[in-house]
């Protein structure tokens, strides 16, 4: 308040030197902050530009309508990888969201004491799990059950859900905490049981935030390569069955195109860049969809 008062009262003006120094500091800070912001954008812009300029070479109909079956050297497409990414991501969402959101509801609405603290601690630990460890876990589980060398989409989804669940739990937890207690109390005061309060008041109020959290989780896992390389594998052909045989995803497609080049090096590089561009576009699209969904779900003010 004192500052405002001083600014408004030239009668008790400060010596000119102080005002000028303030202006200088302000200008310097503005320039520095803007500059750092632009600096932070440079890698992002460079990445987008590189992916777009190099990915456009193969951004054609064939890329989106063909698999790699029977392709030697140039040509071919990544439809099998695009479909595989969609299937595995969808299965991961189905595994992670119910578990993650209910865990968050437990932590906020029911949990207390040592058990709650343990769950919170374990979720924090899970957040830091390296993705390859999640892949090894899924590999070990499915190898023990189904024998060595097995690959399947559902194993990939299991590995990815280990990475996605903690993200969903943490973000949903924050969102549920933001719901004002007055809303809960009002609901209880009307005699509504606790579970109905959660389903009808707490979750709808925070749903847009939860959806945003889920989308962050998806963005976290959609680019994962290592665990999928291990448990979902690589194949040239379409596979719609999550429970049998290998499924290619976009990150694994990019990796194998880059790593295993034939004599016509440019053809493999072009496919890898285009797949990278598609993956970036996929994440962008998911973000747009999430905003739409959040808007549709947001409670209507009357």
């Amino acid at each position: 308040m004192a500052v405002i008062a001083l600014d408004r009262a030239p009668a008790i003006a400060l010596p000119r030197g102080i005002r000028r120094s303030r202006r200088t500091v302000n200008a310097t800070a503005t320039v520095a902050i803007t500059g750092l912001f632009v600096l932070a954008l440079v890698p992002l812009g460079s990445l987008l530009w590189t992916a777009a300029s190099r990915g456009l070479a193969r951004f054609d109909v064939e890329f989106f309508t063909n698999s790699m079956l029977g392709v030697v050297g140039g040509g071919g497409g990544a439809l099998h990888a695009i479909v595989g990414t969609g299937l595995i991501t969808g299965a991961t969402i189905l595994l992670s969201v119910p578990v993650g959101v209910t865990a968050a509801v437990y932590l906020v609405e029911y949990g207390r004491g040592w058990f709650k603290r343990t769950v919170t601690f374990l979720v924090d630990v899970m957040t830091g799990i390296p993705s390859i460890v999640a892949g090894l876990f899924a590999y070990a589980v499915f190898s023990l059950i189904l024998g060595p060398g097995m690959r399947s989409g559902v194993a990939g989804a299991l590995a990815l859900s280990l990475l996605m669940i903690p993200v969903v739990v943490r973000s949903s937890e924050e969102m549920l905490r933001l719901v004002p207690d007055e809303l809960r109390e009002a609901s209880y005061a009307l005699g509504v049981p606790k579970y109905r309060t959660i389903l009808k008041v707490v979750l709808p109020t925070s749903i847009s935030g939860i959806v945003a959290g889920v989308m962050i989780g998806i963005a976290r896992i959609v680019g994962e390569t290592a665990p999928l390389l291990l448990v979902a594998g690589y194949t040239d052909v379409m596979n719609y069955n999550l429970f049998s045989e290998r499924i290619t995803t976009l990150p694994v497609f990019i990796y194998s195109q880059w790593k295993n080049k034939g004599m016509d090096v440019a053809a493999y590089d072009d496919r890898a860049w285009t797949a990278a561009l598609v993956l970036i576009a996929f994440v962008l699209l998911l973000n747009l969809v999430s905003r739409l969904v959040a808007r549709l779900f947001a409670p209507k003010a009357r």
């Binding site: 392709v71 439809l79 099998h80 969609g86 024998g147 097995m150 959806v211 295993n260």
Partner: protein, 390 residues
């Protein structure tokens, strides 16, 4: 019940997206980049299909999924073989993980893969110990050399496309005893070539590699004692030089570094960099598929193995004719008898295609390898070994 809607809507949106993209799939339609007989990518297609190849004799109908993996050197060739084989057998999906020879042999032993590709064969004692996961109890192994590739000594010197080097000079370069391109040892072998006063950067593989094993084996046998590290898959730590990951990494490092020299699969050196002709006897021989095949023809088979276990002892010191002894031989490894007969039929069909003239020609076109077909020493043994698969 709004909370239940969230996953449902997410799944519905994804399903819709998938359905749309799935509809656009034209794997079942004419695929412009595939052979005409190449139809669906659906691995579960059960439609009876007559195998139009005549090298198998009877008409065979194959379907199912065949998983293999191992040597990355075979990667480009495997790509050509997969494409050719699935063109002839639309019901079969073949997968090959080029994760490395050691990984491939291990996964095959554990039963995770039906066949393995490897730059080095299993030892006789390993085969005798048995316990291979995909094989029937007591089954031996068949190991066939199907991929013969010259290893090029590639370099980056502006204006120089070819150099003559003998094995001792190559060994001296990679051990750091020769450090400049105008060293007398190089100059005296290359009359008329203007060699600059430029430091040599020797590039080697950072990862464990069959290419390194064959390169060091060549230096060990042919350099007359200059190379003292033996034949090793991992580059010796005691030696200086620049390390690069995988064949691609070596190629990129050489192309990007003036004065660099390295060893790599010849398919990746062709046209991208200068290559050395190595001294054989009194002549200098450039790499070529024919010269590489000649090196195999002049070599002997290891004698302590069964009939289906065709392992070549490469003689790197051959000193006559157009022979390029700096080669890599990669094997396909499978069971004599499979625990699952349908897998046995698939492996047999696939290996028959790989070893056939068509398969070898495909590999030569896509990977620059030397065909084994036409070599009276190798071809019949390989064919007999594959025919014995059950």
């Amino acid at each position: 019940m709004r909370s239940r809607l969230l996953p449902t809507v997410g799944a519905a949106a994804l399903t819709a997206a998938l359905a749309l993209s799935g509809c656009a799939a034209n794997e079942s339609g004419p695929d412009p980049s595939s052979t005409p007989s190449d139809t669906s990518g659906d691995s579960t297609a059960e439609s009876p299909q007559t195998d139009p190849t005549d090298d198998g004799g009877a008409a065979v109908s194959l379907s199912g999924t065949l998983n293999g993996g191992g040597a990355s050197s075979q990667g480009p060739a495997q790509e050509a073989w997969r494409a050719g084989f699935s063109g002839l057998n639309p019901g079969v999906t073949v997968n090959y993980d080029p994760t490395g020879s050691g990984d491939g042999r291990k996964a095959f032993s554990e039963g995770g893969l039906a066949f393995a590709g490897s730059d080095s064969a299993f030892g006789p004692d390993e085969i005798a110990a048995g316990g291979f996961g995909s094989c029937a109890d007591g089954s031996g192994l068949i190991e066939v050399p199907v991929y013969i590739s010259p290893i090029a000594v590639g370099f980056n010197l502006p204006g120089v496309d070819s150099l003559n080097l003998d094995a001792a000079t190559v060994a001296s370069i990679f051990t750091g005893q020769i450090t400049a391109w105008n060293d007398p040892a190089i100059v005296e072998q290359n009359d008329g070539t203007d060699l600059p006063d430029l430091a040599i950067t020797a590039v080697h593989r950072a990862d464990s590699s069959g290419t390194t094993a064959n390169f060091t084996d060549y230096l060990d046998q042919a350099s007359g004692g200059v190379w003292t590290e033996g034949s090793v898959e991992d580059w010796p730590d005691s030696l200086q030089g620049e390390a690069a990951e995988s064949t691609s990494g070596v190629a990129e490092t050489i192309v990007g570094t003036e004065g660099a020299i390295g060893y790599l699969d010849a398919s990746r050196a062709a046209g991208a960099m200068g290559t050395a002709a190595i001294k054989v006897g009194e002549n200098y021989v450039s790499y070529s598929p024919a010269a590489a095949a000649a090196a195999v023809g002049g070599s002997t088979f290891q004698s302590d193995r069964s009939a289906g276990d065709v392992v070549v002892d490469i003689d790197r010191t051959i000193d006559s004719g157009e022979v390029y002894p700096l080669i890599l031989i990669s094997y396909l490894i499978g069971c004599e008898t499979y625990a699952d007969p349908s897998q046995g039929a698939l492996v047999k069909g696939y290996l028959e295609y790989v070893a056939s003239p068509e398969g070898q020609a495909e590999a030569a076109a896509n990977a620059g390898s030397a065909p084994i077909t036409g070599d009276p020493n190798v071809e019949p043994k390989v064919a007999a070994a594959i025919a014995s698969i059950q």
